[in-house]
Structure formats: C-alpha cells, structure tokens
C-alpha cells in the first residue's frame, strides 16, 4: 500500500528543494540573529495570543522576510507570522 502511494507521490523537484532551503537560510541571514532569538520571539507571541485565543502551537510559523514598502519604492524588512487559530476564548471578547 505504501509503495503505491510512493508511486503516485512524485519525488520533489530539486528546484523546490533549493527554494525551500534558500528561504530558510535567508531568514537567518537577513535577521542577523540566531534561531534562538526567533524562538524567543515566537514563545512570547504565543504567550500573549494564548490569553485571547486557542492556537495551534505546532503549526505556528514566524519568519523574518522582506517586502516592498507601500509606496513600492523601497524594500523593508517584515515579520510575518502565520498563526492558526483553533478558537477564540470567551474571556477575550
């Protein structure tokens, strides 16, 4: 059964592997901070949000990236967090 799945599940293109690896390595290059730093930010964010919502901590993704500024003239650093919410706590409403 597993083999059939493997058969249909095409191996990943090497360019996708490249892209993924690049994205990860650039997070740290750009931030010029250690992964521990990001972990600290992450745990603080979880703490705050937990007061108001139930979130899926295992799926929480936080990255330092770059984006175009609103006028489209400059490139600015951005902290992007993807936080899946399970439910909103009543106490927070």
């Amino acid at each position: 059964m597993l083999d059939i799945f493997k058969f249909f599940n095409k191996p990943k293109n090497s360019k996708d592997v490249a892209k993924e690896r690049l994205k990860l390595v650039l997070i740290h290059d750009r931030a010029n901070v250690s992964p521990q730093f990001l972990e600290m930010v992450k745990s603080e964010i979880i703490k705050v949000i937990n007061n108001y919502m139930d979130i899926d901590e295992s799926e929480l993704d936080i990255q330092l990236t770059r984006t175009k500024s609103e006028d489209g003239e400059r490139i600015v650093p951005a902290l992007v967090a993807n936080i899946p919410i399970k439910s909103v706590k009543n106490s927070g409403k």
Partner: protein, 266 residues
C-alpha cells in the same frame, strides 16, 4: 544627466565583468558616451573581456593617487565609438583606494560621460565599499543557484543600508531546459525570494565563452541569444519598455526538428 551604475553580485563568477562589458558596449552602440571602471584591484579582468589588455598604460590607482590625470588613464575602444575603459591596478591591493576617492573620481567622470558603469569585485569588503561609494544605481547579478541567490540577498541588504535603494536584478545563465524539468529555479522563484525588480534574464549561452575568448562582447553578435538579452537590458537602462525575452520559444533547430518528429515532449 549622467548616471553612475554599479554592477555587483557578492558571489564571484556569476558574470559581473561579462555583464559590465556587454551593458557598457551596448550603451555605446546606442550612441551614449560610456566609461567602464574596473574596481577589482589585484584581479583585473574587464580589460581582457573587452580585448583592451594590450593598451593599458595607467590605471585606477595611478589616477586616485594623482600620478596621472584621468584622461591619461582612459583607454578608448577603437571599435565602438564612445566606449572607454578605466582599468584596475593589477599589482596593488583593494586598500589602495578608499570610498572618498571613488566618489571624487565618479564626479569627475560625470562631466565627460553619459554612463559610468562600475565593475565591482566579489565579496563585501573594501573593494565592494569602494565600488558602490560613488554610484547612483545598482544592478545585482545572480545565477539560479542557491549560493549565488543567497549572496545576492546579502548584497541587496548591504546596498539598501548604503542608501542604494531599489537595485535591479539580472538573472544570468538560465537554462530553460532545466527550468522545465524542475531542476533549476525559475525567474519567478528567484524574484519571489529576492523581492526586487528584474531588469533582465540572460540565457546560458556558449557564445559568451567564444566572445570572451576573442575579447569581443556578445552584445555585438546578432546571432547570440545572450547578446540579445544584453541588448534588451541596455534598452531598459535607457528607459524603454522591453518585454522579458521568451526563452521557451528560442530553442534551437535540432530541438524543433525533434519536436516535429515527436521525439521531444514539450
């Protein structure tokens, strides 16, 4: 009004010097007065790529040290009207020049030329700082490889922090056959990661090797795909709207023949 453009990449061997030579020659062919400045002191190469290596008398370091006047060090390319080279010194070190001197030199060249194109050395040390000091704009070169894109990203960050905002990107040595197979990052993939504007895509082209062998930039070769890409980049620098070349349709004759007989699935 004249413009100082620095061509940089971070990583070595991605095509800074080749791009400088081709863009500069391209601009000269469009009737502009152009000077190419090689700032790779100790590892000069722009002279050989342009085929001007036998005509060097004075160099960049001689100029900034006041040993000669700028005009004495400039080499006029006799083949292309309006094209000049200011060669780097070969027996000195990067520290022989400082950013202040580069700014002064660029300002002096502005009086004579429409475009001053600066070929930046690899790395992020003194040579890089010198090369970007007097520049108004920057072009970043990368290839579709993890190492080159990573270094390009670092360079973009450094350019931004040195007030050279909004650098433009050239993706060099793209192989469409590999992109199609999923074995090479596509143009979109790279732009997605680097988040800067694209100014050109140069396909991998054997003619670049041939033209470098001869010391004649590929931009002058009407049959070269890379040459066409550089002609397009030149026009974009001049402010024209030129669509990015469709590399997929630029397949060779043999490929088309194979396709015709169904030997190659498209």
């Amino acid at each position: 009004m004249s413009e100082v453009i620095v061509i940089t990449s971070g990583k070595g061997g991605v095509g800074k010097t080749t791009s400088t030579a081709n863009i500069g020659t391209g601009l000269a062919l469009m009737g502009k007065k152009v000077v190419l400045v090689d700032t790779d002191i100790g590892l000069r190469n722009l002279d050989v790529v342009l085929g001007l290596e036998n005509r060097i008398v004075y160099d960049l370091v001689d100029v900034v040290e006041g040993f000669c006047r700028v005009k004495q060090a400039l080499i006029k390319d006799k083949r292309y009207d309006g094209l000049y080279l200011l060669p780097a010194a070969q027996t000195r070190e990067k520290t022989a020049v400082n950013p202040k001197q580069m700014i002064k030199l660029c300002d002096e060249l502005r009086e004579e030329f429409d475009y001053i194109i600066i070929d930046c050395p690899a790395g992020i040390e003194q040579g890089f700082k010198n090369a970007i000091a007097g520049a108004d704009k920057a072009i970043v070169i990368t290839t579709p490889e993890v190492s080159a894109v990573r270094d390009a990203d670092r360079i973009i960050g450094l350019l931004e922090s040195n007030e050279l905002s909004n650098p433009k990107l050239i993706i060099n040595r793209v192989r469409m056959d590999m992109v199609k197979r999923g074995d090479m990052m596509s143009i979109d993939d790279i732009i997605d990661i680097l988040a800067i504007d694209l100014i050109g895509v140069v396909p991998d082209d054997e003619k670049i090797v041939v033209s470098t062998n001869r010391g004649e930039p590929a931009v002058t070769d009407n049959k070269s795909l890379a040459g066409q890409a550089y002609r397009n980049i030149t026009r974009r620098i001049l402010g024209e709207q030129v669509p990015i070349m469709d590399l997929q349709s630029e397949e060779g004759f043999v490929f088309k023949l194979k396709k015709l007989f169904g030997l190659k699935s498209s």
